[in-house]
């Protein structure tokens, strides 16, 4: 008995390697295909994204204008941390964050109304998303033109008997106008993301709530908001990241960072340090700091996102 079993297992083990060998050559071929097909894309990304991160890190320890290089250790970083301008720029960035609650509030209210298929909802969905496809340079110039001293907004103010305001030459009013442009351009995107979360809600929940006598506002509070939690977290973090990394287009065409650096944001300062004052080392150090902030935000987001098991 024992012997036969051994015999059987032996004959099986003799058969396995042959089929395994055949399988390996096929698998190996498939592996080669997979490798070769993803290689060109990978090379592009390594050469123009991964390598530059390393290069920027190295540059951040150098004093350089792009031609001469000189190792100075952490001096770029210490200079940044002690620079009043950098402090001011980060404070300006924080001020731009005021646009986000507005975007989220507007976005969630409109998305719920669209979800309820309020009269004309398809039209609203199209119109509210419209500014999202415009370039920051287009939106920026529209708003700058609208808010110049003798532009349409001031003309309207004058018609209603107000004094015209020189919006773009004062720090806070300039930030206000830029934030307005950000809201105008950004809330349609938030709305669509939140709407996609809403459509996934089980409508039985609302029925049950109605049976329990919950009104519109309570349903919004206790069903809608918890159900679109993931989308809310996503929209919030994406907008915070955007505030620290993608305001360049708006600032560049609306105020060029002025008056006197008062609307200069972090990403705009990186650009200025590198290409106006030829201080690429300090520019890189600042860029690496921004990179750190983004990495931190991404990790925080991952922690708050309730992920379903996806591959």
């Amino acid at each position: 008995m024992h012997k036969t079993l051994e015999h059987v297992s032996e004959s099986q083990s003799g058969a396995v390697p042959r089929s395994k060998r055949r399988k390996t050559s096929l698998t190996r071929q498939r592996e080669r295909i997979g490798m070769l097909s993803s290689l060109p894309a990978l090379i592009f990304v390594i050469a123009l994204m991964f390598f530059p991160i390393g290069f920027a890190t190295w540059l951040s320890f150098e004093k350089t204008n792009g031609v001469y290089y000189h190792f100075i250790g952490l001096k770029n970083y210490t200079a940044l941390f002690s620079s009043p301008l950098v402090h001011q720029v980060f404070r300006t960035n924080l001020k731009f964050l005021i646009a986000i609650p507005v975007v989220i509030t507007l976005g969630s209210l409109t998305s719920v109304l669209l979800y309820q298929e309020i009269y004309g909802w398809r039209f609203y969905r199209f119109v509210f998303f419209l500014p999202s496809v415009l370039s920051a340079s287009v939106t920026g110039i529209i708003f700058r033109t609208a808010f110049t001293y003798d532009g349409p907004v001031n003309s309207a103010l004058k018609i209603f008997g107000f004094q015209p305001i020189n919006f773009l030459v004062h720090a806070n009013s300039a930030i206000f106008v830029i934030s307005l442009a950000l809201i105008w351009a950004g809330f349609g995107y938030a709305m669509l993301i939140l709407l996609s979360g809403l459509t996934a809600i089980d409508s039985d929940l609302f029925l049950a709530a109605q049976v329990d006598g919950a009104g519109w506002w309570r349903q919004f509070q206790y069903i809608v908001i918890p159900s679109i939690r993931n989308q809310l977290v996503f929209v919030t973090t994406i907008n915070i990241m955007y505030t620290f990394t993608s305001l360049f287009g708006f600032i560049f065409v609306m105020t060029a960072g002025g008056p006197l650096f008062s609307t200069t944001t972090v990403d705009y300062l990186v650009f200025q340090k590198a290409f106006s004052s030829q201080d690429m080392g300090q520019g890189s150090a600042l860029a690496i700091l921004v990179f750190g902030i983004i990495a931190l935000l991404t990790l925080t987001q991952a922690k708050y996102l309730r992920t379903d098991a996806q591959d």
């Binding site: 097909s37 996609s196 992920t307």
Partner: protein
């Protein structure tokens, strides 16, 4: 969700209507202004134009070489899109259906780098490109657009190709179809909707991009539309109709695209988060 009372509906419609108006009116205003003469505009900036003119567009086309900028933009966006879509769909298909040792890490690499802001890249990329004498040449910008668009595209297409049933691919293999044949005749047709969505997103991203375009192509002869627009907008503040015409030229293609592909665009925008 509970229906709102009709009074509430009316009130909300009025609020939403005014928000819609604040979106549409500036665009309409720009369009009207672009067809006015400067004198006509200055007499009454809200007025109805006395005469329609195309002179602003003609001036931009001739004197400010916006036609050339448009051609450069179309060339850069077109070639970059073709290259990026080709490389990304090959990689996406390979990673979805031909896993290899380490393919998991390659996939992670694309995902990890997806949100990298251009702020981090501009200085090193500028230095590399100037070493390679590519600053000031269209291909320099093209390779940047191709590379920076690859991570999301691979991520997006990999998900689309994952949905293609293995049994069909297996059947194709037994019928003797090789990688490219399977890719072309089975994978691509089944991922057509995702592919279109991605193409729309890429077009918008590249067409609207300003920072790289401004840095890598600084000369008038190779300038793209967005930097040209920024330049005109900065220099001719006293001539709003001219600026408006430049805005119309830059914005029209993206708005037309939205009108024709809003279905795909909505899909693309909402695919970034796992709710699909």
């Amino acid at each position: 969700m509970q229906k709102l009372s009709w009074q509430m509906q009316l009130l909300i419609s009025m609020v939403l209507g005014s928000v819609a108006l604040s979106t549409l009116w500036p665009l309409f205003y720009v369009l009207v202004t672009s067809s006015r003469t400067l004198n006509d505009y200055l007499t009454n900036i809200y007025g109805i134009p006395k005469e329609f003119t195309f002179s602003n567009f003609q001036i931009l086309w001739k004197n400010y070489s916006l036609g050339l900028a448009a051609r450069n933009t179309i060339e850069v966006v077109g070639i970059s899109m073709v290259c990026c879509l080709t490389l990304s769909s090959l990689a996406g298909f390979g990673l979805a259906k031909y896993p290899y040792r380490g393919s998991k890490y390659v996939n992670w690499a694309f995902i990890a780098i997806m949100l990298l802001p251009s702020t981090v890249l501009i200085i090193p990329i500028y230095l590399v490109l100037s070493k390679l004498h590519l600053v000031g040449h269209l291909p320099g910008l093209m390779i940047v657009y191709i590379a920076t668009n690859i991570p999301f595209s691979v991520f997006f297409l990999r998900a689309a190709f994952k949905a293609v049933p293995d049994s069909i691919l297996e059947a194709a293999r037994i019928d003797g179809a090789g990688f490219f044949r399977t890719f072309r005749s089975i994978a691509m047709p089944s991922a057509k909707a995702s592919f279109t969505t991605l193409a729309v997103l890429q077009f918008l991203g590249m067409w609207n991009e300003l920072l790289y375009a401004y840095l890598i192509l600084p000369d008038q002869s190779t300038r793209l539309l967005t930097p040209a627009l920024a330049n005109i907008g900065g220099r001719y503040t006293s001539n709003p109709p001219l600026v408006a015409a430049a805005l119309v030229i830059t914005a029209t293609p993206t708005l037309v695209l939205l009108a024709f592909s809003s279905k795909y665009l909505v899909r693309g925008v909402t695919s970034g988060i796992g709710s699909s």
